[in-house]
Symmetry: C2
Subunit: 281 residues, 2 copies
């Protein structure tokens, strides 16, 4: 297992805080620097010992870091990586934990010097909870992290980022940024849309009749709406055609219901069942 | 807690089997008769001791029963209740565990003699699993059971059915059949549609990128498609307008994505979040 002298975490919420706790629990880094713009958040991270030092000064925070992980909302990642690259050591490895990858890779590819060691990644370990208060040293244990290297990345750098997440207990999958975004559009972003709209249509007065089905199906609707609006917009090119396919399926089901066609309805539900079983297995 | 000399259960799958196990665990009935048309299912129910005797002969099975619970797919409930009523003792209480209530109440109201003691009920304790192998003596513990008395029912009979489910550990809620069906259309039936279509659209190749969100959102899609096609069709009058509202919400979200309107998208997701938190609290 690898070991780092200094790791800097930019944004110490659920993900950033969990990275800090995992590093500490596993004894992987001598120094864990938390960087944020709100002192109160940094104080919370210090209180739960997710970081060993904390600062609101980005340049000071990354100065000694061998690796910097940007764990902020998606919209802030590009300007922050650019800023980090301008003040960190030339050999500092930079990655992020954003839920979309292609837009970041495109924009950063145009901005960054070829020598800047930035490789995007995405830990599939979110929660409907947010904040360092829910951070968990085992959040990444046996979870998948996508390492989304692009054509500008060297093998060495892709492997170094892979090694970082593996050290936290994760299983790494390598994908191109575009393949990643296409896949998560259906495995994560469409589920979010579907769950949120369902929750939004449910009247509070029917609360007593809610059981496991509704609770499971809507759970992710409780997640932070600002973060998710950014994610969905960032991946809209892949998401919009999927929403269209979904709408077509809904129309097919509506027609089967309208004409009382139990055979067609059963067949459509059977596809859902078979696919659920195949994908979850 | 009430006690019965003989209880007959028609259909010993997950629900019927769990009723039998709960009666036995709590020592509520001297005799628990399982009735079904397949001997192999009855043998399984006997093997796990969900019933104390079993028969494929409906008339013989209900002859001594003080209470009969029909736990079959929705489409079979009306003819079976009619048949039971024609051969049981005049004071036998009959109920069912069907997921829809208004259609059954209407049809049975026209068929049954006024003296027949039938009161519909619906335990909100399903699962994506089926069969007596998944039956559980505690399935109804602290779960809601709707007792859907109609105008033809006496208070005595509604209370007797309520007492039965309470004896199994359930919390009973009294509703009219129509109010029940309107409520479960949004708390159970639309979630099923939404989950099934989402699962059906997910390619197996993206399996490695599936995490908690997708797994939770699609869980109920794994349920028996024949049972659910019957349920959705039976409640289509309440379900179809909800699907239309859902489609409108999907269109609103699509337009916000298309025009890159983060404020509108955030506002829509916020409604889902607030409603999720309010309904689940």
């Amino acid at each position: 297992v690898a070991r780092w002298k200094s790791v800097a975490i930019l944004g110490v919420g659920l993900i950033g805080g969990s990275i800090g706790l995992a590093l500490r629990k596993r004894g992987l880094s001598d120094e864990i620097v938390g960087i944020g713009h709100r002192q109160v958040t940094l104080d919370s991270a210090l209180a739960v010992q997710a970081v060993s030092t904390a600062t609101t000064d980005l340049a000071a925070g990354v100065a000694d870091a061998e690796i910097v992980i940007v764990c902020t909302p998606v919209l802030q990642i590009v300007p922050l990586v650019q800023q980090i690259a301008s003040c960190c050591r030339p050999d500092t490895l930079i990655t992020d934990a954003g839920s979309t990858k292609a837009g970041l890779a495109d924009r950063l590819g145009r901005i960054l010097a070829p020598s800047t060691r930035y490789v995007g990644s995405h830990p599939l370990a979110g929660s409907d909870k947010s904040g360092v208060g829910f951070a968990d040293a085992d959040l990444f244990q046996d979870r998948v992290v996508v390492v989304a290297g692009s054509s500008r990345n060297s093998r060495t750098d892709v492997e170094a980022v892979t090694e970082f997440w593996q050290a936290l207990g994760a299983r790494c999958v390598e994908m191109t940024p575009d393949d990643h975004d296409r896949a998560v559009a259906i495995t994560s972003h469409l589920p979010h849309v579907v769950a949120s709209l369902l929750a939004g249509l449910t009247p509070v007065e029917h609360r007593s009749l809610v059981a496991g089905g509704w609770l499971d199906t809507t759970r992710i609707a409780a997640a932070d709406e600002e973060l998710w609006a950014q994610i969905l917009l960032e991946n809209r090119d892949h998401l919009l055609p999927l929403i269209e396919s979904y709408r077509e399926q809904l129309e097919e089901l509506t027609k089967a219901l309208q004409r009382g066609d139990r055979t067609a309805l059963t067949a459509q539900l059977r596809i859902g069942k078979q696919r659920r079983n195949a994908v979850a297995s």
